[in-house]
């Protein structure tokens, strides 16, 4: 009487998991954060397979052996109170498993909430990603450029996304590069990621946000450092500035194609403060010059000297000084990972 469904399921999962990872975006990571998560997921699947195996073996054994049949007709099972030792075993072993997974969770959560180890010494590239209706705005304060519905980032570079929303709660997700995080109207959230393979990746809002939700996708294009610099220069030279009126139009639109501008909306429409500002009542606006503003904002999110910091993110300390763009790794030919 064993159930065919779960057994089939187990089989299917083995078949699909091991060789077929490439179609499973989450298990086909292209950056350190997503790789940490993929490893965590596969580890947890293996542990859980073990748990399932124990339960299923016991289950099949009991059902086969103790089913009612002709030979045991009239058999009335004895009263059985329980067994302290056995019950202790199935309390203690799960506790050990949970403890192990807790350690894994805390470590991996800490890892993906911060800049990946190998990019720690870089000054991260800051990009504000904000959502409105069913589109994404990407503002590059340092470069002074802005895009809609696509984001270009250099490979092998720590990127710090600062997320917020002009409306409903959305969730910023590029499955092959990092896990998701909410973008909300009243608080700035932060997502660290980096890519180690050049390529185009699907990014989308994963949190239901109304009518146009299904189509709220964007392209995350990872390019070499040179290509990226070239693109930035090209945008600055050839694209129009983003005026306040133009931006109002963008916000009002439901869906948009790709757009590119040579200035950001942050100058006239500052992002919400992070939580520490709410708490201290210091709603200082950040509409100053681009470079300066980034610096200022970093201090808000990671106030290093004040012990009273209400910071939500226990991130690594950022370099205090604004530096020119950090140098990229000289080798740009790592198209297929390492």
């Amino acid at each position: 009487m064993n159930k065919k469904g779960p057994l089939y399921a187990l089989f299917l999962s083995l078949v699909l998991l091991l060789p077929g990872c490439s179609s499973l975006a989450v298990l086909n990571p292209k950056g350190p954060a997503a790789r940490t998560l993929s490893d965590t997921i596969i580890l947890s699947i293996l542990v859980m397979m073990g748990v399932l195996a124990v339960v299923y073996i016991l289950y099949v054994f009991v059902l086969v052996k103790y089913r009612a049949k002709k030979s045991n007709e009239g058999y009335i099972p004895e009263h059985e109170e329980g067994n302290k030792v056995l019950e202790a075993i199935w309390i203690i072993i799960p506790i050990i498993i949970v403890a192990f997974l807790s350690v894994v969770t805390v470590k991996s959560t800490h890892a993906v909430e911060n800049v990946a180890e190998q990019y720690k010494d870089q000054d991260p590239l800051v990009i504000y990603a904000s959502s409105s209706n069913w589109k994404w705005h990407f503002s590059y304060p340092e470069e002074g450029i802005e895009t809609v519905n696509y984001v270009n980032i250099p490979v092998h570079r720590a990127v710090e996304f600062r997320l917020y929303s002009f409306g409903t709660i959305t969730s910023f997700w590029i499955p092959q590069l990092a896990g998701q995080k909410y973008a909300m109207s009243d608080m700035l959230t932060e997502l660290n990621l980096s890519a180690d393979t050049v390529g185009s990746y699907m990014g989308r809002n994963s949190n239901f946000s109304g009518k146009g939700f299904a189509h709220m996708e964007f392209e995350a294009l990872v390019m070499t450092g040179d290509e990226y610099n070239e693109w930035v220069q090209d945008v600055k030279a050839n694209e129009p500035e983003l005026t306040e009126d133009e931006f109002k139009g963008l916000l009002a639109a439901e869906h948009l194609g790709r757009k590119t501008y040579s200035s950001t909306h942050l100058t006239f429409s500052p992002p919400p403060g992070d939580h520490s500002e709410h708490m201290s009542g210091d709603g200082s606006e950040m509409n100053m010059e681009n470079g300066n503003e980034d610096h200022q904002d970093n201090k808000d999110i990671h106030p290093s000297p004040e012990p009273s910091s209400q910071t939500e993110f226990d991130g690594e300390p950022n370099p205090e000084l604004e530096e020119p763009l950090p140098s990229f790794p000289a080798d740009e030919s790592t198209h297929e990972g390492h």
Partner: protein, 647 residues
Amino acid sequence: MDLEKFKVHGEPLIYGAMISIALATIGIIVGLTYFKKWGYLWREWLTTVDHKRIGVMYIIAALLMLFRGGVDALMMRLQTAAPEMKFLDAQHYNEVFTTHGLIMILFMAMPFIIGLMNVIIPLQIGARDVAFPRLNAISFWLFFMGAMLLNISFVVGGSPDAGWSAYFPLASIEFSPTVGNNYYSLALQISGIGTLMTGVNFIVTILKMRAPGMTLMKMPMFTWSVLITNIIIVFAFPVLTVALALMMFDRLFGSQFFTMANGGMDMLWANLFWVWGHPEVYIVILPAFGIYSEIIATFSKKNLYGYTSMVFSMVIISLLSFLVWAHHFYTMGQGVMVNSFFSITTMAIAVPTGVKIFNWLFTLRKGRISFTTPMLYTLAFIPIFTIGGVTGVMLAMASADYQYHNTMFLVAHFHYVLIPGAVFAVIAGFHYWFPKVFGFRLNDRIGKHAFWWIAISFNVTFFPMFFLGLMGMTRRMYTYSEESGFGPLNMLSFAGALGLAIGFVILVYNIYWSTRYAPRDTNGDPWDGRTLEWATHSPIPAYNFAVIPKVNSRDPYWESKQKNTPLYEDKITKIHLPNNTGKPFILGVIFFFLGFFLVFSMWIPAIVAGVGIIIMLAVMSFERDHGFYISAEEVAATEKKLRGETV
């Protein structure tokens, strides 16, 4: 008055729904009139305070809602079966998945479980009714009217469309200007008040009305699970009540609790919702555990293994259920510390749940297992629910959840928990206790056909969703592109959904078939049961037990059958029972209108209805009704008749 806002436009499906609702209503009215059943309906059902009849009404309502929620599910699966399907548009799809969630959780799973507990709990503890029979009727009618209010939203004004969790600011008047989310706040509020009163009623019933000798640690496991569940209800539902009230103020009266402007906080809604929402999951799962415990013990002919640890594991689950709510939004940016805390508390729930699984397996061990229909659902529950459980642990890991959150992986997980956990349990309980209420069993052969359709199709429907999630498909997408590659697995899932539908049709057919042809039980104990509900007749007399039984073990009826000791020692005396009353029904109807008028901001009628409610409450408070007595002779005569002896 602007009639435009009552209308729902455009969709042939909605016109179809309108026509079928109208036809069904006309059919019911004509039928009742033709067969002259209005009086019967009023006297025996609408005014009843009998826990058994209220329970049956809960279950009928739940089955109707199961049909409605199931049709929603089929429409969703059809719409996503292939890329770029044009069956539903985005708005309609959003309404359908929102109502699917609301109906299945609040108007199917909960009332089904509350229905079973209404029928069974007083019997299991050897009582004649619940502690407050009239309150029980009010609970039912409030639940029922809340459910009806939500259901008419589909054709009058538009359904809620912001997901069953109705996250702000999406559910605010700014982003959801239709009346849909007004329905949400009022329908849930009305039925939620009913549920809260059920909670109070059953805690008092179980604590105060047990048969002599039944100490807490001698209570049947289902009774224990219901006690704990109702304690959770009493602690969790006030949070929902407050959250819904604030939502109503935001939407109807322009307050700014959760809005984007003036210091409103969308995150507050998410927290309040899940502080209720997570315990809510255990409100539907724990009684299911109780039902499975009863069925496993009965059909392996053994007492429950590790009774004490079973009780304690439920107590621990209920405590932990209030400490895990933030795992529904790890991605809100709380940071590593907070997420780690909630990860650990969430994973900790796996420990007591595992204890229960192993105790069930060891109850089966050395038993004599017979595979009846209720037992099949129970046995299918163990392996399927375990998949739901282990994926739950995977989701509990905050870091990994950054990749699962909002994806089909999550959808697969919670269906793997809720369908074997709650739906299989209520179906199993339905088959198991059906003969107690109606005096005949559902056909086993047809029942098994339905079971295999449902169990296999369930896995075909939901297992592919784990992979869809890992492929990057988010939930609540009404369509997707060809290139995404989501097509084939979604088609498989749709095929499974059709199989599930077939299974449920067979199940319903079984009720019809068995009503006509199944042989009638004579002794009230068709399964060789162990607990007190089997010690009385089927169908159950109005007073449940002619004499209150004396209890001195956990399986009193089993003991008395094995050792041939008498369960009843006292003589038959006159029995006191409460009078029927139509006031709970009338109160419910007024609440329905109050809700309806508020949904459409029709203030004057709403005030009139509100005053009506206050008057009703005052009338009911000052009413003196001492019930009535059934004389000892009449009880004795009824008992004889039920035993099949001629009077």
